[in-house]
């Protein structure tokens, strides 16, 4: 592993498998009565959240605490950030407090890169979602969940459906799943696919129905209703008819296929309530797996960093 986790593009196949295999070991903890390991005792993990995301923050918090790390939650709301303090000063403050890892969620694409490359902090930086760029731990937990149900992802078909243009989940998944050998198809109206998507290691389609029958995984993305006002699509109803996973489309999925969603869902918009609650939906399990995957990331970044055995044996570039 590198010293930061900023983008899934930085992960080689073996890096990614190492995270996923470590997470699988840690996942078994969730079923034990005592869920805690002493691994990161005395280390400090800061959750630096410039955007509200209770789900992701809680998941990282649980992950760090299960590894016995001290956790500091720093939320932009009500903090000095809302008084105009710069990212740099916030970072310097956290550094002075001795953070070993900074988990950052920020509305501006690339903010975690700035934090990691600017020299403001020495700690490991973990991207917990930056603007419309990436959300690497979400992709890792998605891949983890797929492996539990489908085994090796090599040659598996994954359809990622919805607002790809604005989705950090889609970017991270497209890169990671391709690295792991899966065949990814991005399905969206043309307005919600980025210019330049043809250079990505994925296929694209405007037609959800044609992508469904052969897919092993269908991952629905959240569609924000305000996109409607910016003319990305004519109305929520039309979007739902053309790109929603409704009961009719659900029935056409292969029997083994699973349904995923990074949450929070718009029930009735991109996914029908029956589908979200069906036995093929792994949406709740994604949340459980998220803790294990984030434990694995923290473990590999933090305990690897100061163990001479690891440092000698692992490339750290």
């Amino acid at each position: 592993m590198k010293s930061h986790l900023l983008s899934t593009a930085d992960l080689t196949k073996s890096d990614a498998l190492r995270v996923l295999d470590t997470a699988a070991e840690l996942r078994s903890l969730a079923d034990r009565p005592i869920k805690k390991l002493p691994t990161l005792r005395g280390r400090t993990v800061v959750n630096l959240f410039f955007e509200d995301s209770t789900r992701t923050r809680i998941s990282f918090e649980a992950a760090a605490k299960r590894l016995s790390a001290d956790v500091i939650n720093f939320s932009a709301k009500g903090s000095s950030v809302s008084k105009g303090e710069s990212l740099k000063d916030t970072a310097l403050t956290l550094e002075a407090m001795g953070a070993d890892a900074v988990v950052i969620r920020h509305g501006s694409s690339g903010a975690p890169h700035r934090l990691a490359s600017s020299g403001w902090v020495r700690s490991s930086v973990i991207n917990a979602g930056d603007g419309t760029h990436e959300h690497p731990t979400q992709a890792l937990l998605d891949a983890f969940t797929m492996r539990r149900h489908l085994g090796d992802l090599d040659g598996r078909r994954v359809a990622i459906v919805g607002d790809v243009l604005h989705s950090r989940v889609a970017r991270s998944n497209a890169l990671l799943l391709s690295t792991l050998g899966a065949e990814v198809t991005l399905v969206a109206p043309p307005t919600l696919l980025p210019v330049g998507v043809s250079s990505w290691p994925v296929a694209t389609s405007y037609d959800l129905d044609s992508a469904l029958e052969k897919t092993d995984v269908v991952m629905m993305l959240r569609v924000q209703r305000e996109r409607m006002n910016a003319a990305f699509f004519p109305s929520a109803r039309e979007y739902s008819r053309r790109y929603g996973l409704d009961d009719r489309r659900f029935a056409r999925l292969p029997d083994h296929a699973i349904v995923m969603h990074p949450g929070p869902m718009n029930r009735g918009m991109e996914i029908a309530a029956n589908v979200a609650d069906s036995h093929r939906s792994v949406i709740v399990e994604q949340v459980t797996n998220g803790v294990a995957v984030r434990m694995a990331v923290l473990y590999l970044l933090l305990s690897g960093a100061d163990t001479t055995e690891h440092a000698a044996g692992e490339p750290t570039a």
């Binding site: 710069s86 694409s109 700035r114 490359s117 600017s118 330049g196």
Partner: protein
């Protein structure tokens, strides 16, 4: 006033000759008085003083980023003897009072002729015309009008401005950026913006305005100048407008001649600029356009910003880059050392044509007896690593930091007076 006798300079990079600078003009070297200060210019290229059509000096209003004095010192070090100070100051240069103040401060500083650019619309608000005639008639004698930083997007207002400035031989310099297509835009729209998850800034947003304004200029028979052309499509449109015989001129910045949007992958806002860095194909088209004269000149768009406005996340950062002290070097590395243009054409693109577009009669003249003594001596064989801390600007936001660039300004003379000697400000 000191009289200088420059010996053995290569005039416009060709024939070797002496230059006599006396009483603000070029004289016959044979008439050099015995007390003339001799400058050995063997190995150096002599050019007419450079003229920048596009400079942000930030004063009045943002004297923390740059002042007219500090910016004109940077200009002199870059070989410039005249700069056009853009209107987007606080207050905006949209009245005779403000442009006269800028002009006077430039005179007082004395490092180069500071020619104020007047705003096209009051407060750059795009609602109604500023008092263009009053600025033209003022002591500053404004001839270039621009809302630079903001596009004059209203087609009717643009038409009226183009028509109105004909009365005093003015030119409207358009910042071509269709506003609706670039809301919240962060970088060139293309492969990189998709990968980096940044709101794209499509080439068409620039090209659509250029196409419209060329048609308007042709329709009303006015002078139009296009600021900081950045796309291959824009070059094609301007080539087409010129082929029609319309009075359209255009500039390109040094950074658009050298840098591409691949640099944005660092998320370092030092590369954030308006218009954004484009692709390698665009860079090639800009160089070709400058070589064949479709693009008339290089203009720096020197845009100083204080450290805190760049030392932050990309979306929060200010747009703009320094340019005055590196423009000639970037021109040399992209156009001269590649064999695309001669030093004589450097003089044309960085002095003669911009002076003509700005209607400055005492700049951009031939290096011959009787011309104003605006001269720059360049050592084309020198190389240097760009070090931000060395800049005469108050700001440090150069995207060329650490790059090895060829060429060094050895001396600059403004109306016969040395502003730079031995590479040092006087």
């Amino acid at each position: 006033m000191t009289t200088y006798l420059i010996t053995g300079a290569s005039l416009l990079g060709s024939r070797s000759a002496d230059l006599l600078l006396a009483d603000g003009h070029l004289g016959d070297p044979a008439d050099a008085p015995p007390d003339a200060v001799r400058i050995d210019a063997s190995g150096l290229v002599a050019l007419p003083g450079l003229v920048d059509l596009h400079t942000h000096l930030r004063e009045p209003g943002r004297e923390d980023a740059e002042t007219i004095e500090s910016g004109s010192r940077a200009a002199a070090r870059g070989g410039f003897t005249a700069v056009h100070a853009m209107a987007n100051t606080e207050p905006v240069a949209d009245t005779a009072g403000v442009v006269e103040q800028v002009w006077h401060l430039g005179q007082t500083a004395g490092y180069c002729d500071v020619r104020p650019v007047g705003a096209v619309t009051a407060g750059l608000a795009g609602q109604r015309l500023a008092e263009l005639g009053a600025m033209a008639d003022s002591a500053a004698r404004v001839r270039v009008f621009s809302d630079d930083g903001v596009c004059v997007s209203d087609a009717v207002l643009m038409r009226r401005a183009l028509e109105y400035v004909k009365a005093f031989d003015g030119v409207v310099a358009q910042h071509a950026q269709e506003p609706r297509l670039t809301e919240d835009a962060q970088m060139n729209e293309g492969t990189m913006s998709g990968v980096l998850g940044m709101q794209g800034w499509p080439a068409v947003a620039e090209e659509a305005i250029i196409a419209r304004d060329c048609l308007l200029a042709g329709h009303v028979g006015s002078r139009l100048h296009i600021c900081h052309v950045s796309t291959a499509g824009s070059v094609e449109l301007i080539r087409w407008a010129k082929s029609k015989g319309w009075n359209v001129t255009a500039e390109v910045t040094p950074h658009h001649l050298l840098l591409t949007d691949e640099l944005v992958a660092s998320y370092d806002p030092i590369y954030k600029v308006n218009p954004p860095l484009r692709t390698a194909d665009d860079v090639e088209a800009l160089r070709a356009g400058l070589a064949d004269g479709t693009l008339d000149c290089v203009a720096t768009d020197h845009a100083p910003h204080p450290t805190e406005d760049k030392e932050c996340e990309w979306a929060a950062a200010a747009m703009g880059m320094l340019g005055l002290e590196t423009a000639l070097s970037v021109f040399q590395t992209t156009m001269v050392d590649t064999g695309r243009l001669t030093w004589g054409e450097v003089a044309d693109r960085m002095s003669v044509r911009p002076a003509r577009i700005g209607r400055i009669s005492d700049q951009g003249q031939a290096l011959e007896t009787g011309s104003p003594a605006n001269v720059v001596l360049v050592d084309p064989a020198a190389t240097r690593a760009v070090e931000p801390a060395d800049s005469a600007s108050l700001s440090r936001n150069t995207p060329f930091r650490g790059m090895e660039l060829p060429g060094a300004v050895v001396a600059t003379f403004l109306h016969g007076r040395a502003t730079v000697l031995d590479g040092k400000l006087q």
